[in-house]
């Protein structure tokens, strides 16, 4: 018997008892639907988190601050003061200087290190002349800015440039993101020694997309930060210059990429008196929660599939029972046991195929619907967030896995069919 004929006869058998076939397929559908949908949510959320991570800074970036040491340390005795170590306590605000930057840069596994200059901005005002509290940050690491309009700030430029947070567009008096691009805003900053206020003018070169991690934060280019920082330090004594709260280091990803190597790097930083944090550390928590939730839902889907595979076993056992005569006759006519086995196990795999494909199509349909509703309502503020996403590879994997499960379930009845003795099955009652 040719494979095409085996496939055809498996299809014909499925059609012979439509009601029973449909019920079995529905059971598979439920499992497949659940798994496909949760998988879609998982992909959607992780994709968004990835985008956010690259929006905060590259994944090779590490933020380094002085290690906050509890005075009691790990021993019961108070820890000795060491002027070389940054052993500040919580109540003191530890700072880093150029020497620290050099030390960090020299460490194994670090490619580069840069100080993050501190600056303060009192307010921002734009076309509406209204003053607003303004939070901002420099561009860190190899950042890709997710923009709604305009372009990314130029780090090399001598001009003062801003990528404005979208929340500010309306308040500053612009009609839209496109309208805001190219406009000039006023930033107010104060020299910490003298308390003298200075206004710096900067150009909006782009407007950011909504961001989950950095809502309301605008991005400033290096020239603007240097200017703000210089104004802030005006009049300060020499000894208080060149103090940074944080250093941004770039890890050498070519040699330091595994979690273990990064952990090792952090440990060595800790020994040197610094605390290092990667972007993934900050967002890892959210990722873990999402993975845990979708993991549990996938489990439910898997349980549904397990129940459904018993359905397949039952359906096919009934089918073997009904077709005993036919199987016996075909075997008498020379059909091999192997082919009989194929007919039934392919029938099972077909049930799995139909159920999983329908489940994925159903999940895709529901996913589109939910995405539509979500982006109009509770997710409308998070541009670029597609809650449920499907990929060909994961859909294909789901179909293959379910077909394999169905096939395995089918082997039980298929074996019984294959072992039927033609004489026994053709005996007339």
């Amino acid at each position: 018997m040719k494979f095409g004929d085996i496939l055809k006869s498996a299809c014909t058998n499925l059609m012979r008892n439509k009601g029973r076939t449909i019920l079995t397929i529905v059971a598979i559908f439920i499992g497949s639907f659940t798994i496909a949908l949760t998988n879609g949510v998982n992909i959607g959320v992780n994709d968004y988190i990835d985008k956010q991570v690259s929006g905060v800074g590259g994944d090779d970036m590490m933020l380094i601050s002085p290690k906050a040491t509890v005075s009691m340390g790990n021993t019961d005795e108070p820890q000795k003061y060491d002027p070389e170590k940054k052993t500040s306590t919580m109540s003191q605000n530890a700072t880093l200087n150029d020497k620290d930057v050099e030390t960090i840069k020299e460490m194994d596994g670090m490619k580069d290190a840069d100080s993050v200059k501190s600056y303060s901005i009192n307010y921002i005002s734009g076309a509406s002349d209204e003053k607003y509290v303004f939070s901002s940050m420099p561009i860190l690491g190899s950042l890709e800015v997710d923009l709604e309009a305009g372009k990314s700030v130029n780090q090399e430029s001598k001009d003062f440039e801003i990528n404005l947070a979208p929340e500010f567009v309306k308040s500053l008096g612009y009609k839209s993101a496109e309208d805001a691009v190219g406009k000039t805003v006023k930033l107010s900053t104060t020299a910490s020694a003298t308390g003298e206020e200075t206004i710096v003018e900067a150009k909006i070169v782009g407007v950011r997309n909504q961001s989950l991690m950095q809502g309301g934060n605008s991005l400033l280019n290096q020239a603007l930060i240097d200017e703000l920082s210089a104004i802030g330090e005006q009049g300060l004594p020499e000894s208080m210059l060149g103090q940074y709260g944080m250093v941004v280091a770039t890890m050498d990803k070519a040699t330091y990429s595994s979690d273990k190597e990064i952990a090792d790097l952090k440990e060595r930083l800790g020994e040197a008196g610094y605390a290092g944090q990667t972007v993934d550390d900050e967002i890892g928590m959210i990722r873990n929660i999402i993975n845990a939730i979708t993991g549990v839902l996938t489990m439910f889907g898997a349980i549904a599939l397990l129940a459904a595979s018993f359905g397949i076993v039952n359906t096919l056992f009934m089918s073997v029972q009904e077709r005993t005569r036919e199987i016996g006759l075909m075997k008498a006519m020379g059909l091999s046991s192997g082919k009989v086995f194929s007919i039934f196990s392919i029938e099972a795999a077909l049930i799995g195929f139909l159920g999983s494909v329908l489940g994925i199509l159903g999940a895709a349909g529901v996913g589109n619907l939910v995405n539509g509703i979500a982006s109009d309502s509770f997710l409308s503020s998070l541009t670029g967030f597609t809650l449920i996403q499907f990929s060909w590879s994961s859909s294909g994997a789901i179909i293959l896995i379910i077909m394999a499960i169905a096939f395995l379930a089918g082997t039980l009845p298929a074996r019984r069919a294959a072992k039927l003795d033609p004489i026994e099955s053709l005996r007339y009652e």
Binding site: M1, K2, D5, R16, R325, E326, G328, L329, M330, A332, M333, G334, L335, S336, S337, K339, P422, I423, L426, Y428
Partner: protein, 226 residues
């Protein structure tokens, strides 16, 4: 040349105390083109003998020669092929897929043989013509009368141009008039195409029409009349 030959064939069922010998050492030699009736009382071992000759069952001891070749050590795969190509089967209870068309039922052995769909149809139509049912090819098998059903089964048995057709009570479920027509078709095949007929039957009239009658009582051949 004998087409099929059995030597000291024994077949027993069960073990120990419940052991039962259905065939107690049967020797029989059937020539090519013969029509043979196996007759005997119910439970005498007729079907058991036929199943052994048709290579559907294995004897407890003794051997079967097909075209002078011993079949004892043939591999399952070869055996399947042999049955598919050399034998045709007709049963008392028809055994057909009643929900399927007449044509599909007749094509079944060819499908098992792996013959292409086009050739399959041609051969099946030729076989249906032989039993004068080519006009019913696309009917549901269920819609046919008993006699017509048995004729479809004969078409199915001869579609692969077999050497031997085994028929177990082919007219057992038919009234005498339709039975005669079915018999006629079988004997025509025997005469015109030289297909060997091995018929198990209770019916003395049918047995009398055969070239040869083998009488079985309690697992022994007691009379072999030509």
């Amino acid at each position: 040349m004998s087409v099929i030959e059995a030597k000291n064939l024994k077949r027993s069922y069960g073990k120990n105390e419940s052991k039962f010998e259905a065939l107690k050492g049967v020797d029989v030699k059937i020539e090519k083109g013969e029509s043979v009736a196996i007759v005997g009382k119910s439970g005498s071992g007729k079907s058991t003998l036929m199943h052994l000759l048709a290579l559907l069952d294995h004897p407890s001891s003794g051997e079967i020669l097909l075209n002078d070749q011993n079949t004892t050590n043939i591999k399952t795969k070869e055996l399947n092929k042999l049955r598919n190509e050399s034998f045709g089967f007709v049963f008392q209870q028809f055994f057909m897929n009643t929900k399927d068309t007449v044509l599909n039922n007749v094509m079944l052995p060819l499908k098992i043989a792996g013959i292409s769909a086009g050739k399959r149809k041609k051969m099946a139509m030729a076989a249906l013509k032989e039993v004068e049912l080519d006009d019913k090819a696309s009917n549901k098998a269920n819609d046919l009368s008993g006699g017509q059903k048995q004729r479809v089964c004969i078409a199915r048995a001869l579609v692969n141009n077999p050497q031997i057709i085994f028929a177990d009570e082919p007219t057992g479920n038919l009234d005498s008039k339709t039975g005669v027509k079915v018999e006629q078709i079988l004997f025509d095949l025997n005469k015109k195409q030289g297909i060997t007929l091995i018929i198990v039957t209770h019916d003395d009239e049918l047995a009398a029409r055969c070239d040869r009658q083998i009488h079985i009582i309690d697992g022994n051949i007691v009379k072999d009349v030509k």
